[in-house]
Symmetry: C2
Subunit: 501 residues, 2 copies
């Protein structure tokens, strides 16, 4: 669905304001008619609740209730901080076959929450400066090496590159991945990006109602996927990373899985220490809870080597399932990631993968195998890290220039693709995001990283790698303008609240 950045105007209509009339139901009905007739189209942004309330002379609560009513019936969808969008087609295009009634209960589970789509929607939009999705500096991509390797594969191994590949992945590629982690090729499953690994692990280990312990804050794609699987999400505060707290959570909720990103964590940038890793493994082993190590940022370390993987620290006990990806180093468009696990689990995952998508295409697997065999990948990483360091410096410098330390606290990450930010005054992220969006700047709202609602309202994440240095400066200048606008709006609101009292 394409989203309009501009707000549509709601045509005029009259409401029965007599006694006994329920205004929000009438308003919802009118808006539904506009949607059904095509006056409001899929993707249209509705006025904010405040604006519409003002326009119609209604209370804000009435409009809020109407929007909620429409949302519960699937006609609109609100994206926190971005507004409310029409998401239904007019019934007339679908008539007379009512598809809405045919969707499975499972598919309906998840409407309305934050999604990765919210993050990456603007990634390829040249009109927007997006700090939202986490992409590496694609300008560093080794295009010539890629084309050369692809040529070679198509010429020498057409049946492998173009034909069907095993669901587990190409043996040559699995061997190279295994070598990097001291594992056996049989322990490697190739996936079409880390998200597929996450989905397969969830399907393999979780039944609806099962509890999963997950980093809080943590990866929105994991929250979204596990929630859709019907799992109960239990957040473990990853900044404190208190192992006693984790033990309490394990005892209390008896989780089927612990999902953590222990290195250059998304979104906080936190890395667990060796001691914390060992204690985490011990808990996983003691309570026999599988530990999924989501590790997309390992190869983006900017200051020396990253800490050891849980997977390797655990070699003896074999309780860890590891997920890696080339999306954060080479390019997400390659759709290549991997899972490392016990052979038994790899077989189970491959069997689920076979039912869902049969296999991941062999061509990119063999190209990457070539990159790993001949050192192309390592050479490339050196160049990439230089560029990433440069961009990080520009971002930190600009943030310090445009924001006072009193209004914005930031971390200075040792790896990963992101800076984690805390607003410390009145302004909340959704206000800032709204003002930034109108200046064509997009950030990742902190709220989406919390499995529980209402948290992270003053936090946000900025990607420092996907935009050029020039765009970073330009974008952060606009963000500071947005902040000033949000702040003056905020104090205006405060004054008006006072005057009402």
């Amino acid at each position: 669905m394409a989203f309009n950045l501009n707000t549509v105007t709601i045509p005029e209509f009259s409401l029965n304001r007599g006694k006994g009339s329920v205004l929000y139901v009438q308003l919802a009905k009118e808006l539904e008619n506009f949607i059904a007739s095509g006056t409001l189209k899929s993707g249209d942004r509705l006025p904010s609740e405040r604006e519409l309330a003002k326009q119609l002379g209604l209370s804000r609560t009435t409009v809020v209730n109407s929007y909620q009513e429409l949302e519960s019936r699937g006609f609109v969808r609100s994206h926190v901080g971005r507004g409310t969008f029409v998401c239904a087609n007019s019934e007339s295009t679908d008539a007379p076959f009512a598809w809405r009634g045919k969707v499975s209960a499972t598919a309906e589970l998840i409407n309305g929450s934050w999604t990765v789509g919210d993050l990456i929607r603007d990634s390829s939009n040249p009109d927007v400066i997006s700090f939202s999705g986490l992409l590496p500096a694609l300008s560093c991509f080794p295009t010539d090496d890629y084309r050369r390797a692809m040529d070679k594969v198509i010429r020498s191994q057409p049946a492998h590159g173009l034909g069907v590949a095993p669901s587990e992945g190409e043996w040559r590629f699995r061997t190279q991945i295994a070598r990097r982690f001291g594992a056996k090729p049989e322990q490697v499953l190739i996936v079409s990006g880390a998200q597929e690994g996450l989905d397969l692990i969830g399907r393999c280990l979780l039944d609806p109602g099962d509890a999963v312990i997950i980093d809080r804050p943590g990866y929105v794609g994991a929250i979204q996927n596990f929630r859709a699987a019907g799992a109960r999400l239990i957040g473990w505060d990853i900044v404190r990373a208190d192992l006693n707290e984790l033990e309490d959570l394990i005892l209390r909720y008896r989780p089927k899985l612990i999902w953590t990103n222990p290195t250059f964590q998304n979104p906080t940038g936190r890395s667990l220490s060796l001691k914390e890793r060992q204690e985490l493994l011990e808990l996983s082993y003691r309570y026999r809870v599988p530990l999924a190590e989501d590790d997309p940022y390992r190869d983006t370390s900017l200051r020396g080597a990253a800490p050891p993987t849980l997977f390797q620290l655990d070699a003896a006990n074999n309780t860890v399932i590891y997920i890696g990806t080339f999306s954060k180093t080479l390019a997400p468009g390659l759709r290549l990631g991997w899972v490392l696990a016990s052979e038994y689990i790899v077989e189970q995952l491959a069997s689920i993968k076979e039912r869902q998508v049969l296999f991941t295409g062999g061509l990119n697997q063999l190209v990457l195998a070539e990159f790993l065999e001949n050192g192309t990948y390592e050479d490339y990483l050196t160049r990439l890290k230089e560029e990433h360091s440069k961009r990080l410096n520009v971002m930190i410098r600009s943030l310090r220039q445009y924001f006072s330390a009193a209004s914005l606290a930031i971390n200075s990450p040792a790896g990963g693709l992101h800076v984690w930010c805390h607003l410390s005054g009145e302004v909340e992220t959704r206000q800032l995001a709204r003002h930034a969006l109108s200046r064509r700047v997009v950030l990742a709202n902190g709220e989406m990283f919390y499995p529980d609602n209402g948290a992270g309202v003053r936090e946000f994440r900025l990607c420092f790698t996907s935009m050029s240095a020039v765009k970073i400066e330009e974008g952060l200048k606009s963000l500071s303008d947005a902040f000033i606008a949000a702040k003056s709006e905020s104090s205006g609101l405060k004054r008006s609240r006072v005057s009402i009292v």
Copy 2:
């Protein structure tokens, strides 16, 4: 899991044959010990039940029971017509963390049935002549055009080719697909092969326990996927294609979905007539049952244009979800297919896809868009069909040369990649397949295309497009040798049965 084509030898051991001892339990325990100790390894093929019974001086029933016991506990897996394979690791490599107990109930639903993996496992094995998987003639792949187009995309649109693509697919590619079917781009969802389309449609429309009407015989990947989703599969005899029977099934089972491959059907080659198509649409509309049109073979028509799609015939009522793919024309390794549906359904499917894999890589989408825009694809199809016709002629000629019409009935398909065969004598496909395998020839056993057990035992499918003309002749010569061996075994058995009586 790698499969060994050769049978392993079971080491010697002794059984307590005294009164009260349950031999099959002892045997299962001994075999389990061999697996646990690593004497028998994952992928090893166990002796046939008959062979082992003979070796140990036990009844065949005892061995059958032992194998079943081991299978129910996940230590072995029998692939009908191929044998029984060790599929468990020894507990010692996994110990002390018992992964087996951690697999979800959902994931356990499906162990043991036929899978697409059974079909395609040998596709890239140069030591085997495989008539099993359905692949186009990859020797025709337009390698130079592909490399040229890829170059162009990487140079001109790196952010689209390498960065993140929308979950719905690249707009330019969706536009080209839509144009071919008189649809709107918004009605197109790009998928990583038709199997992903099938999986998404199942997740969108089906809850566990829902009934699905499916071609009988029909695509094994659909049977496998829907079964794993907990659906109840109802076969509709696609050869008779009796619409009254279909209406009865609809009334009786109230299905949530009808899944059919109406053109060059897999495996029978049958195409529904225009009248049958119209009646099918009418039933779908009258009973408000969504109709999924699985149409992978449309562009492989060998005699003029294929019949119109259900999707296009249905333009007004909008009850059809269409699934297409480039796997049967260009190459399965591209992992590109598409779904056409009402915009509402496309949005739902995209939202599920986003949770599972985020998106399909943009590079191949843009290359294919290029192919469709500049006529490369159409020119290629002409060359491909010439090659396919040639290979089909060789296959039909060889089959008629090596098999009498009395022993083997075949169709002569007007499109698709496959010939459907019926054995008419004593010999069953699993015997033939066993003898063929020992001659390094692989075919697709008819049984796997039936949602119910025990059917299709004398049917099999041969792919005429994936092997060169020379290999086709060589393979069918071996198949006829296998047939003769199976036949003499069969009559030997018959004689021995008579002698027992």
